[in-house]
Each structure stands twice: as structure tokens, then as C-alpha cells.
Symmetry: C2
Subunit: 271 residues, 2 copies
């Protein structure tokens, strides 16, 4: 009697999700972050799937993991499947509560741009139930439950130093994420402010702007984010504008009545 091997047991869904995330992101740690668990959990899931299949899907070495041949051939269908699942989840959510909407954006955008427009947005969409989540990175996939994203993408914006009126002499204020903005600006405007001391470096851009508002120095402003404060006179431009190749972009992650309408409204506000 030849072999009558194992039963055709189904593969655990959560395990497949771990495999897909690890393959897509190129590492267990990244996958773990994506899934909101620890790397150990991802490793265990992947190991479980590999055991069920009887073949390794990843080659481990000290600096990460790579897909095996077999794994690489499986990735496209896995990704397609989880994209479909994400879409299905989205349909469920939007059908169940059409006026509930979740927006993902950078912390700086949330505080400086969305916050001041929130009342207008809610007035434009009566009944809208809005939740705003600040993320450092735009969600990598369409599976994260967000309806609309608002992040920087390719486009045209302006950089210029800003300070509170009459308080233009303080140190240079910067934040950790966009510290490169000063460099970019100087490349276009020359070595201005070179002699200034560097002030506190915040983890959040909005905190640097707060410091500038409080007269504690000069911040590097992205026009789209500080235009409101400039027109209110709470900040003034203290140097030339320099073109910047990133701009805010609002997009609906999945097609859906409300999401599309809100993304359109935001995009209109942007221009």
C-alpha cells in the first residue's frame, strides 16, 4: 500500500496573514508591526504554516528573511487574497455605517491642517462620524480600515522660514522627521540663517510650529500647513519661498460614496 499521507486540513487564516505580511514587507519584525503583534508571534505563525506545508517559505539569515522559490511563487495569490479580504471588510464597514469615516494622516497634518477645518468638514457632511488617526507612515496596504488618507506625495508646495511677528531673531526650530526641510530650503535660498543656533528638536512638527508661535525661534514652514497661521497674522514669513516637490494629497482608499465625497472635499480645500 503506497502512501496515504496527511489529511487535507485547511491552513489557518491568521497564519496565512502572517506569511503574507512577512513576505510583502521582507521581515518578521516589519510584519509584526504591520499586524500589531510581536515578532515572536509572526515567527510562530510562519513556522506553523511551513510545518503544515512541509516546506520552508523563508530563508532566514541574521539580517532578515528572504522568500524561497516556493514562497515567491505563492506571494502573488496570497497578496491578492488578502487584498480581496481587505476590500470585503471595507464593504462590510461602509455598508453597516455609511456615515462613519476614518481618516489617516501625519500628526503634523492632523494638528495643523485638519483640526482647523474639522468644523467646516462636519458642516459639509451632516451626520458624518469622523475618526482621525495620526500615523508616521501612510498605511502600506489597503487593509487598514482607513477610508481616506491625507499624506504628502509628489507635487508642488513651498518652504519658507516663519516666526511670530516681531520675534524673528530666535534659533532655528526643527522637528525630527522633517529636519531635511531646512537643508532643502537653504539649497534654494542660500546660506541664510546659517549662523543661528539650532533650537530644540521636537519629535512633532506641530511642536516646532508651536515654539515659533510662542516667539521662541524660526521654524521652517511648509506653506500648505502654515498658510492659515500666516493669513491670521500669527506667523510671518522671514525669508524667501523655495519650491518644494511634495504636497498634500487626499485619497479615498476604497471606492465608497462617503469616502469619495470627503476625499473630494479635502482635495478641494487643498487647492
Amino acid at each position: 500500500m503506497p502512501v496515504a499521507p496527511p489529511p487535507p486540513s485547511d491552513l489557518p487564516l491568521n497564519g496565512l496573514r502572517a506569511v503574507e505580511a512577512a513576505a510583502r514587507l521582507g521581515g518578521f519584525a516589519a510584519a509584526a508591526a504591520d499586524l500589531g503583534v510581536t515578532p515572536g508571534a509572526v515567527a510562530a505563525h510562519v513556522k506553523g504554516i511551513e510545518a503544515l506545508l512541509g516546506a520552508p517559505l523563508f530563508i532566514r539569515d541574521a539580517r532578515g528573511v528572504r522568500l524561497t522559490e516556493v514562497g515567491a511563487r505563492c506571494l502573488p495569490s496570497l497578496t491578492a487574497a488578502f487584498d480581496a479580504l481587505g476590500a470585503a471588510g471595507h464593504v462590510l464597514r461602509s455598508e453597516a455605517a455609511p456615515m462613519r469615516l476614518s481618516l489617516a494622516c501625519l500628526p503634523a497634518i492632523a494638528q495643523l491642517w485638519v483640526q482647523p477645518r474639522q468644523d467646516a468638514l462636519l458642516a459639509a457632511f451632516p451626520g458624518l462620524s469622523l475618526s482621525i488617526t495620526a500615523l508616521e507612515q501612510p498605511p502600506a496596504t489597503k487593509r487598514h480600515g482607513f477610508d481616506v488618507t491625507l499624506f504628502f506625495g509628489p507635487g508642488q508646495d513651498w518652504l519658507m522660514p516663519v516666526a511670530a511677528p516681531g520675534r524673528v531673531e530666535g534659533p532655528c526650530l526643527a522637528d525630527a522627521v522633517w529636519s531635511g526641510d531646512w537643508t532643502t530650503w537653504r539649497a534654494g535660498a542660500g546660506p541664510a540663517f546659517q549662523d543661528r543656533p539650532t533650537g530644540p528638536v521636537h519629535s512633532l512638527y506641530a511642536l516646532a510650529i508651536e515654539d515659533a508661535l510662542a516667539g521662541r525661534g524660526v521654524a521652517m514652514g511648509r506653506l500648505s500647513l502654515v498658510a492659515g497661521l500666516l493669513s491670521q497674522g500669527r506667523l510671518v514669513e522671514v525669508g524667501p519661498r523655495v519650491a518644494f516637490d511634495q504636497m498634500m494629497i487626499a485619497r479615498a482608499v476604497h471606492p465608497g460614496r462617503t469616502a469619495r465625497a470627503v476625499a473630494g472635499w479635502l482635495q478641494r480645500e487643498l487647492s
Copy 2:
């Protein structure tokens, strides 16, 4: 400081699977059977999803469940997603072990048709690792891990009473599932064997055939299943053949080298 994202709570995969199964099969009990759990577990999963969504997906009444409007709009994308997942799982399995193949068929087919041909099949596909699973019903979806199915479907076959040579006088043997075959045959051949007592009724067709082989009575044979025994002379036909509108059909559940080849081989054996 990495922002701690308040998770945009993803929907649990197992819950979605329960919802999809219940929606597709029209009942929690059926879904439970499909998923291999108890109805209570399905109910709990569905309830969990409904709670997360904040809207009911099913209307319960005493004779089962129906989808709500919302649920009905969600079903297509859910089904598509789980079909995609099933396909992905299948790719994984076949990539990991290309020569491993699992066949699903009726118990009667397994015992009377597949078993005698197993050596020939393995000879035709060297290295094939075959597992055979007997199911009363063909798997309803493509998600059950089977590579090839072999069941009765629309087509042309023959029914006729069979018995061991020289032992044609015993009672009518029948099995529980195909007891209708006697009725069908009499409808075409007239009231023959009406006066015979009814012998033991087995749960498995193959047991009725065993009884016939042992000379304990007359069984109603489907030609495709008993042809081998007839040509060996172990059974003889003891009445006219009557046309029957179901025949065995082999099909590959998912496209795949081995599955397609084996299904083709089986189909060729059938004709």
C-alpha cells in the same frame, strides 16, 4: 517616538469566514457543518462581527436565518475574498509539494472504482503521493483543500441488478443513499423482483455489493462501478440494463499541473 496607532480594529478573519459560510449556506447549522464546528461557535462568531460593525447582518427566525439588506450587499465581496484565499492556499500546497494530491469521492467510488485502479494510477504518475478522502457530498466550495473530485454528475450510465453467479435468488440488497436506484430501475424495466424480500439495508453501497459478491442477494448495480466485477465474472447481470442519468465525473478543483493530469487520467479511465 513612534506614534502608537489606536488600531483601526480589523475584523477577525475567522469571524468573517463564519459570516460568509452562514450567508452562503443560508443557516448557522449548515455553516457549522461546513466549517467543522458546532452551530454555537458560528453564532458566536457572527455575533462578534455584527457587534464590531454595529449592525445586524442576519435576520433570525425560528426556521433559519436570512441576510439583511446590508448583509446581502456584503456577501459577494466576502465570497470573492474567501475564494481568493482558497485559491491562494491551494497554490501554497501545490507549490510546496507538487506531487502530493488529494482526491475526494464518494465512499462507494473509493472502494469500488478507485481502489482497483490505484496501482495503475501510481504507475502512471511516478512519485505521486495520493490521499483519498471519502465524502458523502461533493465539497460545496473550492476551499476544501482537495485537488481532484470524483463524483456523480449529469451524464449517461446504466443500472442493472447483479448477483454472484449461481446465486441469483436472494433478497433485494440496497444501501441507504442510493435506495432510489431500485425505483429508477423498476420504472424502466417493469415490476421485476417485486416479490423478493428486501434484504439488509447498508449505509454504504459497497457493503451491498459485498453482500451480492458473497451470494447473499441481488444488488442494484451502477455499471461504471461494477463493470470490473462483471468482467471478472465475480458478478453477473440478472436483469436488463436501464439508462441512468448520472455518471462519474473527475475534475480538477484548481488548475495545477499534477491535478489536471490526474483528473485527465481518471476521466480517460471512465470512458
